[in-house]
Amino acid sequence: MHWMGVDDEAELVARLRSGDADAFDAIYDGYRPRIFGFLLRLSRRRTVAEDLLDETFLRLVRHAPALRPDTNLGAWLFTVARNLYWSYRRASALEDDVEPATLSLWPIAAPGPSPFDLVVGGELEARLERALQALPPQHREVLLLVIREGMRPSEAADVCGVTAEALRQRLARARAALIRHMDLERPIRRYGT
């Protein structure tokens, strides 16, 4: 998964290695929302996702001179972000089996659809976000990397530190669990219509 062409990305990496701030800006603007969205949906806490995003990009610039010329920036950034999340989780002994209904991407959980749900997405998106939140993080990360970010399973396997076969199995289980949690048997009505 290269967010731009491989040659363009190689040129960006070369410029970043030599300390070019414009090259950093191009990478930062391209990847920041994607890494943040990944971290936000993985951690389910905005403040945590913000802190982990900071650390991900700070690590990129600290390691800039040591980057290999053929570095796949997307895979590099998602790997660092994902590893930081798991380190955070281990350090904070975060309980992940909290009742999903009490969790929200936002600091204060609201019962039922939040104003954000109503304004931005409608019920399908709201159900999807809630279903994602109800999944274990191992399932969330594969769904986000492969389906949301369009990574090849082999790339996602590298990011997650598992074999391609293990990732494929995990992805199949995650898809099934997501659909179960979305409760698609229940009709979807759109808010405001």
Binding site: G19, A21, F24, R32, P33, R34, F36, V120, L128, I179
Partner: protein
């Protein structure tokens, strides 16, 4: 006709993008520029030749040992 898997996958791809606030993004950009300047400004330390100093050190040690031996022979230690 889309099945449940298609709906879930399409929904995941179409979830709204997320981002940090403009001020936070600007702050992090500034910190990263500073770090980038620092990390790329430090030139790698020039590799010092190791063979020359090692030979000189070894020769000095041998010379010192020979001198001490000669001194010991002269003064009868």
């Amino acid at each position: 006709m889309m099945d449940d898997d298609d709906i879930a996958s399409a929904g995941l791809r179409l979830l709204p993008p997320e981002d940090v606030s403009v001020s936070r993004a600007r702050r992090l950009r500034g910190r990263c520029h500073d770090e980038l300047r620092r990390s790329t400004a430090a030139e790698p330390a020039p590799r010092r030749p190791l063979v020359g100093p090692a030979l000189i050190g070894a020769w000095s040690a041998l010379y010192l040992a020979a001198t001490l031996r000669a001194a010991a022979a002269i003064y009868g230690f």
